[in-house]
């Protein structure tokens, strides 16, 4: 296995030590490990975010392969276990915690109460609204949400908008799945990149 010092040296060559320290000590939760969440997790792990808490109740299936970080060997696994494998192959020295559970208003505070930054990465609109509402009313977390990334419309329509001091929304805010518009890897990854970059900005601000 690659030594921790070797990974650290590769990071040190690019960024000042205080940036590494802030990222290493950061604690970020991601709710939903589909197209948004799995890609956000990979980007934050590559960026050296030290403590990740990843939540999803689902298993990897073939319909995920068009946009999510998983590959054929992960089919049938819990997404929480599959993502741990992927992140461990990127950086085995990160603290990765997972919970294979469905998020409800009743368990939001227990799951996410200790995290200052939470990414909303669900796919169903009612679940997205529920999570954002409950996080903002039950916890003190800053929320980075994904909203509107279906199809293959202009990438530049996907933006990061500050709704208030505790809520950032990334996406085009309008393109729904359905009506013949499915999800494709590029636009989902653009939106995930917006969310991951906002998280890093929040950590380093």
């Amino acid at each position: 296995m690659i030594a921790k010092e070797e990974l650290d040296r590769a990071f040190d060559a690019r960024f000042a030590p205080e940036i590494k320290t802030k990222l290493r000590s950061a604690r970020v939760a991601i709710a939903g490990l589909g197209g948004l969440g799995s890609n956000i997790a990979v980007m934050l792990a590559r960026s050296g975010v030290g403590h990740l808490f990843l939540v999803d109740f689902d298993r990897v299936d073939t319909t995920n392969l068009n946009r999510q970080a998983y590959t054929i060997p992960h089919l049938g696994m819990n997404k929480t276990d599959a993502i741990k494998t992927i992140l461990g192959d990127i950086n085995p020295y990160l603290d990765i915690k997972t919970e294979c559970v469905r998020v409800t208003p009743e368990n939001v505070a227990t799951l996410f109460g200790d995290y200052g930054i939470v990414c909303e990465a669900f796919d169903k609109p009612d679940q997205k609204a529920m999570l954002v509402r409950e996080l903002l009313t039950q916890t003190g977390a800053t929320v980075v949400s994904g909203n509107g990334m279906a199809g293959f419309g202009d990438s530049n329509e996907i933006k990061t908008e500050k709704i208030n001091g505790r809520l950032y929304v990334c996406g085009d805010l309008s393109t729904d799945v359905g009506d013949g518009t499915g999800l494709m890897a590029p636009r989902v990854a653009v939106c995930a990149g917006h969310q991951a970059n906002k998280v890093i900005q929040l950590i380093l601000k």
Binding site: K128, R133, V177
Partner: protein, 64 residues
């Protein structure tokens, strides 16, 4: 007048739930902020809009 997503509307006297349903939103898919405070789910039906209120309705679409 009540300011909703930056536009003045005649919604004073209505509950937030009445307004969002009349405006065509699905109440399950929105997060509502009134005067900079996020409303809890059960507050949508109990909160009555008044002149001078500022409301932001964030509508969620599917995909992730």
């Amino acid at each position: 007048m009540v300011t909703v997503n930056g536009e003045g509307v005649n919604a004073a006297g209505k509950t937030v739930m009445q307004y969002i349903e009349e405006a065509g939103y699905n109440a399950q898919r929105v997060v509502v902020e009134k005067n900079l405070v996020i409303l809890k789910k059960d507050e949508l039906s109990t909160t009555v809009l008044e002149d001078g209120d500022t409301v932001e309705i964030l509508n969620f679409v599917g995909g992730g």
